[in-house]
Every structure is written in C-alpha cells, then in structure tokens.
C-alpha cells in the first residue's frame, strides 16, 4: 500500500518535471507555426487561443485536472492557421496516441517475450557452468551487445538480414489492417534489436544473482543432502533469486520502451516513440507531455510489479513472525 502511494507520488513528481521542462523550452508553438515574420499581434492571438498566455501554474493544474479525466487535450499541430477556419483538423491527443501506443506495446511485448525467457535460460545455464567456455563466451557476447548503441545494433541487423540476406523488410510499416502474421514478419528486425540490447543485461544479472545464492550455506546443505544439480538450481536457488531478477527485468522493460524511441525511428515504425520525437520537433506540447507521462508511469508501474514479485517470492515478507 505504501509502495503504491509512493508510486503515485513519483508519477505526480514526474508530471511536474515534465510540464516545467517543456514550459522552459526556448520558443513555443505559436512562433514555430507562424514563422519568424509573424506579427506580434497574430502570435499573441494564437497564444491566447491555445491558452499559452496563462501563468504556468494555472496551465499545469488545468492540464493535470484534464489528465485525471482521461483528457490529454488537443494536439497543437494539424490545426488551421486562421482562427475560425472550418478546416480545423486538430486532433484529440488521446486519439492520436492510443493506436501508436498499441503498436509500441506490441513491439516491446513481443521483444520482452523473446528476451526474458532467453536471458533467464542463458543466465541460469551460465551460472551453472560457471567459468566454462560457454559461460565466458555468453558473458563476453552479452557485454558487446549491452555496450553497442541501439541504432548501431539496428543497422547491423539491417545489413545482415535485409541487405545481404534479404529475409526481413527494413521498414516496419503496419496499420490497422495488417494481420498478426504480417505484423510479426514486419516487426522482426526491431524486435530482434530490442531483444538484443536488453538481453545482455538481464542475462548477466540473472547469472550473478544465481551465483551469489549458489555460494550461500543452504546451497551447500542442499548439495550435502544429495540434491542434484538441477534440483539445486531450480528448487533451492531460483526461488530466492526472483526478487533481484524481477528488478532487472523491470528496468530492462522500461529501457526497452525508451529504446523503442530510437528503434522505431530507424525502422520507421508507427509507435509512440516516433510520435514523441516528431512532436518535440514541432513543439507540440500536449502530445509530448502525454507521451512523457506515459513513459514515466510505465516505469513506475513496472517497478511496482517487480517489488510485488519480490514480496510474493519472499516468505519473510509474506509471513511475518
């Protein structure tokens, strides 16, 4: 319960930071849209219409109030330059974000489903055969993947699997009409990239969490009571490793989401990361703020889940004395 309220406080603090950061950005949407040569009065009128003339504190609470009602406001872009024009194509932020969020969640979800089990299996087996050639090469390769930046990994995949051996497309265009199979096929490369950049960290941390536990006295005791290797790892070490492992997974899922900003850009995938980059470029404040808030909340939620797993897997916390 305390964790939950702390999580809420964190999200709230994030919202303040997000809002104030973007408020202090140089330039605003009005000058951006009307151009350098716009008259002062025209800029002023547009600002008034968008509510940009109000003091930041008032704007913040207006925005926050609406967010609580699920209303992230309207996008600045797409609106007509002339007041009262019938061709106002301004869109609700929610309507703009939801389909893209779905795309991003699909991408990261598939990547997570690939990365988590793989890194657990690799990490546990590396711990089991510690200092073997297998362990050394696995940890070595994972260090390389962790250290290379997302776009680099992405371009390597494009070079290998799209240019040299054209198996997958370089551009991951999906729309509402795409079937599931099509989606899997088209997102293959971004999924591989996200998997690879997060797997190294998760695998290494799983390995060290297990190794840490393998040196404890109850593991020696388990061995001396005749437990097999498999039993030692699965029955005795793993139940005690869930807490640290789930923490690492949470951090990496969040990292995956943030990494998707770059990866979506590289593969031209219509996800929330691309939307955010574009909106920052256009000074489209409501969209940027909404995206940032979504990223922040996801981070907090993932960490809450990890904490919850930590509590459930630890009888000391679950059953007090």
């Amino acid at each position: 319960m305390l964790r939950l309220s702390l999580g809420l406080v964190t999200v709230f603090a994030f919202s303040v930071i997000i809002f104030s950061t973007f408020s202090f950005l140089p330039g605003d949407f009005a000058t951006e849209i009307l151009g350098q040569s716009a008259t002062k009065s025209a800029v002023k009128a547009l600002r008034a219409e968008l509510g940009l003339d109000k003091p930041p504190v008032t704007r913040y609470f207006d925005w926050l109030g609406n967010v609580f009602q699920g209303d992230f406001g309207s996008s600045f872009s797409g609106r007509s330059k002339v007041q009262g024009d019938q061709g106002d194509r301004s869109r609700e932020v929610v309507g703009l974000i939801v389909p893209r969020l779905k795309n991003t969640l699909f991408l990261t979800g598939v990547a997570a489903m690939l990365a988590i089990p793989l890194s657990l299996i690799l990490g546990i087996s590396a711990a089991l055969y510690r200092n073997s050639y297998y362990d050394r090469s696995a940890t070595g390769v994972s260090l390389v993947t962790v250290s290379s930046p997302e776009f680099f990994t992405a371009y390597i995949f494009i070079l290998l699997l799209a240019t040299l051996f054209p198996v997958f497309p370089t551009i991951s265009n999906v729309d509402e009409a795409s079937t599931l199979a099509e989606r899997f096929y088209r997102t293959a490369l971004p999924v591989f990239t996200l998997t690879l950049i997060t797997m190294g960290h998760m695998m290494r941390m799983t390995r060290s969490a297990i190794i840490n536990i393998l040196s404890s006295e109850y593991i020696e005791m388990a061995k001396l009571s005749g437990a097999s290797r498999y039993e030692v790892i699965v029955k005795h070490a793993l139940p005690n490793a869930w807490a640290p492992i789930s923490q690492v997974i949470a951090i990496n899922l969040a990292y995956m989401l943030i990494g998707s900003v770059v990866v979506e850009y590289v593969f031209n995938y219509q996800g929330i990361g691309r939307l955010m980059v574009g909106s920052v470029y256009n000074r489209d404040l409501p969209v940027v703020q909404a995206c940032a808030l979504i990223f922040a909340s996801t981070y907090v939620i993932l960490n809450l889940i990890a904490d919850l797993i930590g509590i459930i897997s630890n009888p000391r916390l679950l059953y007090p004395k």
Partner: protein, 537 residues
C-alpha cells in the same frame, strides 16, 4: 552413552591429504589424517580454528568445499571408497546414508521453503516411503527432539522459529532418512548456553535411540565430553592424539592437549572498591519502538573488572552502547567519575570521549583494512593527546611492547595479522587514548581457547600496571570466572543481580542465574546426564 558398542567398522579414512586454494596458491589443510568409526559410535573431533576439523568432517562424506581437493587418501564407507566415486554416485549416499548438520542452522535452511518440505526432502528422494508416512515420521522426530507444537511446526518457514529450534529441526532432517552416519559440524557453537543444553540432550538421545554413528566436530571440550565415546584432537591438519573420552580428560598425553585443558584454570582473586568509576541509574533504552533496556542500574568500581553476563538479546551490548553514547537513553542518567554524562555522543567533550574506550568482538571489522598498525594506534594518540612526529612513533612502539608485540608490526596491515594479534592491536588502540574505563564487548569469543587465555592475561596485567577499569561483556562463564571482580547478570533487558563474583557464583541463586550457571558445560563426561536427571527430578 555406553562404551560396549558393536565393533563393526563403518567408516575408515586412511592418510587423508586435502589442499585448499586461497591467496593465489595451494595450502595444505590436512596432512595425512586417519580416522576410524564403528557402527553406533560417536567420535569427537576437536581443535582450534584452522585445524582442519571441518574439512575432515566433510571429507568423511567424500565432499570438499569449492576451492579444495582431496590429494590422497581412502575414504571407506561400508566398503565403498567415496574418494573414487563420481559426483552422481556420491549424491545417492549424501543425505540418505550420511547426513550433515551444519553450524548455522539459520543460514543452512532455504528461506523460501517450509520446514517440513526441507525435513523430508532427502528421505523423499529414496522413494521408499510415501510422503505422508514421511511427514508422520518427521512429526514424531520433532516430538522426540522436544520441539514445541510438533504437529504444526513443520508448516512454518525458517525465519519463523528460533535458532535453537532450527538446530533441532536440522537434526530431525538429518535423521529422517535414517542414515548410518551423521556429521555434526559445530552444531551448538552459535547457540546460548541455556539453549545449547536442550539441543545437546535432544541430539544425544536421538542418536542413541537409532544407534546412529556420528562425528561430532567442535572446539568446545566440555561439549564434546558430553557427546563422544572417543575424542580425536587435530592441530594444523595433523592428528595430535586420540583416546576414549574419559581417558583423554583424565590423562591427556600431549602438551598441546594439556594446554587446551588449562585455559579454564585462570583465576583472579576478587576485590572491590567503594569508589565508583561509573554508575548508570534507572536506564531505559530502545531501538525504534522496541524497548530493550528496562530500568537498568549498574555500579562500576574504580580499577576493577565488572563482567556483564547473559544470553543473546539480554541487553548486554545495548548497555555498552548507552554508556558510550552511541545509543542515547530514554530515561535515567550516567554518572562518570562523579560527573553526569550527556546521553548524546555529540554533546560529550573530547576529554570525556577519551576516558571511555571500547573494544569490539570482531577485530576484523573493527579496523580499517587499509590502515597500517602504525596508523591505527597512532591516530588516537594524535587526536586525544596532540602528540606528533617522533614522539608519537615512540608512543606507538611503547604501546606495542605493552601488548607484547614489537616495532616490526608497525607497517603491517590488519590482513597480515592473526586473530589474536588483531585483537591485541585493538586493545592497544583503546589504550592509546589513555582511558580510565575500557568496555570489552565479547572480546575473546571469536578467538581460540589458547589465544583467549593470552588476551585475558594481557588485560589483567594492564589493569595491574595502569589501574584501568573494565566492563567485560560476555556470555562465557569461564571467562567471567577468570577475569572479573564483580558480576552483573542480565536477562531480557533487566538486571537480575549484581555483586561480588563469590556471591554470584555461589548459592543461593535467583532462578535465572541458576539456569545460566548450571547450563555451562563442564569437563565431566557425566555432567549432562547428571544435569538432566537433576532438572527432571
């Protein structure tokens, strides 16, 4: 404990050599030790730390710790040479034919599983009896080990039962598959004396009941005297001597064995003083919301030694923390040399801080591993007395001589010292402040018997020379007998009694003191039997 047990050979270890890898090179841990054990017999294996007794015990199962390996030797168990078996074959013997009871039960149970599951896991692997039969049997074992609520205690997790109970449950776990041999590796070392008696008697009766052979490893002679039919003494990985328990106790042959016996003969004539160095009056103290000291009043006579005794959790160390100002009291006052001390450390003057010094239980963690002996001792000299340069150097050397070391130690790091030397350096560091009162918090409990004796003698000599006052916190009654003038008995945060050593250690006792004193093992092999008879009558 009958001596006419069967002479059928169960275990025969011949010429065991084991090497261990540490500090980048291989060391010899065991240098050719032999061991024989008959069915139903209990062998005591004793020695100081580093003697190789634990390694020998594990080797009896054909197991070596990671970083160790068996170089040479035969381990014949029931006619099979364990040293030649593969890991897979040995696993069929471990936990079922030979089981192991570890020193720290709290660390040796898996925190993620319930106790019952762990108790029967080895027997379950045999697949002879179904799980519910094994569970019933485990409940019976719990019962014969006198565990409370034996029906349901198995449903709990390890953190939900006490250390003494865990140790008994581990014995039940070892007994569950009815092994032919149990290795007890210092099973009661981490327990209080009062708990130790219960665990010892429970273990002894159950081993008797099933006529199981056992190897009992300990550094405590009095304990091994209660358990073993035969005793083998190890030192530096070699056998010193071996004999029947009674023979060994009454007539030890080797000098080394005799020296192990002699530690408890250190005696100090008691004296007291009406002039108090320190008086604490009606102290209450708490950690957060849990109150640990209730109305504690203690007087410490000048130039004398007051021992504070009690089991863990009785508030001994908390009292020391209050006196030093590390934990400000909630209520009551501390009078030091006629003046009131402020509860908080920050509000005490440098002079007040200088006059009270403390020595801790673990010299390893009480010293900065990156500082040399010169820096460790020199810093309080500089800080409290403002002495620098060559004069300081001379002072440090003088202090080193006082603790029976010399200037060759000046540039050494703590890692280059033995346990006893480290504790001596800690004593010198306390002395460097030229204090009037030194609080010794379990200063000898992490050390071997012979080293303990040296430290206690040193502390006594320093008191004679310098007239310093000691508060000696300990749970070891033998130490108390050796060093104290007065004794304070504490129990659950309260003072049970305070008085001269002769008064406290002689009847009539209050109930708790009686229980505490009678629980201290004695060298008499019949002590435990007599005690249990006395208590049950």
């Amino acid at each position: 404990m009958t001596l006419n047990k069967s002479k059928e050979l169960l275990l025969e270890m011949k010429n065991i050599h084991i090497d261990g890898f540490s500090d980048e090179r291989w060391h010899k841990i065991l240098k050719g030790v032999d061991l024989t054990l008959h069915r139903g017999e209990i062998l005591g294996l004793i020695g100081e730390s580093g003697a190789g007794k634990s390694t020998m015990g594990k080797a009896a199962m054909g197991y070596t710790q990671p970083g160790c390996k068996i170089i040479k030797g035969e381990i014949n168990f029931n006619g099979i040479d364990l040293a030649k078996l593969t890991e897979f074959e040995k696993r069929k013997i471990w936990g079922t034919k030979i089981s192991y009871v570890a020193q720290s039960a709290a660390a040796s149970f898996n925190p993620a599983h319930r106790l019952m599951e762990q108790t029967i896991s080895a027997a379950n692997r045999l697949k002879i009896n179904p799980t519910d039969v094994l569970k019933k049997d485990a409940v019976q074992l719990y019962e014969s080990l006198q565990l409370p609520d034996s029906e349901n205690i198995g449903d709990r997790y390890p953190h939900q039962v006490s250390g003494g109970q865990l140790q008994r449950i581990m014995t039940a776990m070892a007994m569950s598959p009815r092994p032919e041999l149990i290795i007890f590796d210092e099973p009661t070392t981490a327990l209080d004396v009062t708990t130790q008696v219960e665990v010892l008697s429970a273990m002894r009766s159950i081993v008797d009941k099933f006529n199981t052979a056992a190897i009992y490893i300990t550094h405590d002679l009095a304990v091994v005297a209660q358990m073993a039919d035969r005793i083998k003494v190890l030192r530096y990985g070699e056998e010193v001597e071996e004999a029947e328990t009674r023979e060994m106790l009454s007539n030890p042959k080797e000098e080394y064995t005799k020296s192990l016996w002699s530690v408890r003969s250190l005696i100090k004539p008691e004296e007291t003083n009406e002039d108090y160095m320190l008086s604490i009056k009606n102290i209450d103290a708490a950690y957060g919301s849990s109150k640990v000291l209730h109305n504690v009043s203690i007087d410490i006579p000048k130039g004398k030694t007051v021992a504070i005794v009690g089991e863990s959790g009785s508030g001994k160390s908390t009292t020391a923390r209050v006196i030093t100002g590390l934990l400000p009291q909630l209520k009551g006052e501390i009078i030091f040399d006629g003046k009131k001390l402020s509860p908080k450390l920050e509000q005490r003057s440098k002079e007040e801080l200088r006059r009270i010094q403390i020595i801790f239980q673990m010299p390893d963690t009480a010293m900065n591993p990156r500082q040399t002996v010169d820096e460790i001792i020199g810093r309080p000299i500089e800080f409290y007395q403002g002495i620098k340069g060559e004069e300081r150097e001379a002072k440090v050397i003088e202090l080193l001589k006082m603790i029976e070391l010399d200037e060759t130690f000046l540039d050494r790091l703590p890692s280059e010292l033995s346990g006893g030397q480290k504790q001596r350096i800690c004593i010198a560091r306390a002395l460097a402040a030229n204090p009037d009162l030194i609080i010794c918090d379990e200063v000898t409990s992490a050390l071997d018997q012979i080293v303990q004796e040296g430290i206690l003698k040193l502390l006594q000599n320093l008191q004679k020379e310098l007239g310093v006052t000691y508060i000696f916190i300990t749970h070891d009654i033998a130490t108390v007998k050796a060093i104290s003038d007065e004794i304070v008995v504490m129990y659950q945060g309260e003072v049970v009694e305070q008085g001269l050593k002769s008064k406290i250690l002689n009847p009539p006792y209050p109930d708790y003191t009686e229980l505490l004193l009678s629980s201290v093992p004695e060298m008499d092999p019949d002590w435990l039997t007599n005690l249990l008879n006395k208590r049950s009558s």
